[in-house]
Symmetry: C2
Subunit: 132 residues, 2 copies
DNA sequence: ACATAATATGCCTTGACACGTATATGCTCG
DNA sequence: CGAGCATATACGTGTCAAGGCATATTATGT
């Protein structure tokens, strides 16, 4: 469990983060809202805390957990290198991301904006030389 | 391997995606640049393809892989709910919202972040004995 | 000090997944 | 057709993390 990406790979942890995005919560509140066991919540919170996603303060017998932005920023920064693929010009793709099935975008004269060269069967690639 | 977050949790897969962000690559090219075994590359590419991160076209005996933006957009959208925590121009709004629930939220030079906030949470479930 | 609430931790089992090696499939050319 | 390259898949293995359960720890009020 080293990278921030592994931390947010777990659905329950993402749920906890989303919950804390609205307001800080105690362990028991998280436990109830997400229907998780108490040790489960504590364990996930530990992972989140050690990765810097959350911090806690003591309130009587309970601990109030709240978000810390830095690790999420890290994800955001990694994502930055890909933004040019959709931020500039994504016509229909931007709207629906649940449609992952694309029909066929091989029509000439239209769609090649970020596609570099998509060829099927042609010989513009230099033929590999058999090496021994 | 269902969610996009699990897919990008793997460091080699993130490396492949970063590589494809510059330009499309064949399996062999990825293999050499990332010092991975060929089956390793193919297997990761399969995961990426089935999750919609990449698509491939055939070029003679090789396959050219290129990026597809949708799953990365999905990550971006999930991240959106946290952006207010670090975007500066929304800081005032954040504080306003926090005041409804958060006693303190760390911002440089500002509020006491480790102060023991004496309890004042609203109880949604029967609590044993309020200490008064 | 005792009982109890809230949270944390330890142990164990189970399942998923990444990796390596070997092998299969597919394509191209002589 | 047969050789050789490029990629995909199958199989066996080790590792690691998530979940459940029991228990430890810390705080609170009587």
């Amino acid at each position: 469990m080293e990278s921030v990406f592994e931390v947010i790979a777990e659905p329950n942890r993402r749920a906890i983060l989303s919950l804390l995005a609205s307001s800080q919560q105690s362990v028991g509140e998280i436990e109830r809202q997400l229907h998780m066991t108490q040790p489960g919540v504590s364990k996930h919170l530990r992972v989140l805390r050690e990765a810097g996603f959350v911090e806690s303060t003591v309130d009587a017998q309970r601990r109030l957990y709240r978000l810390r932005p830095e690790p999420l920023q890290e994800v955001d920064m990694w994502l930055a290198q890909f933004r040019r693929f959709w931020s500039a010009h994504l016509d229909a793709l931007e709207r629906h991301l649940d449609r992952m099935t694309h029909p066929s975008m091989g029509q000439p004269g239209g769609v090649d904006k970020l596609t570099l060269t998509k060829r099927k069967t042609s010989r513009k690639t230099p033929r590999p030389k058999p090496r021994t």
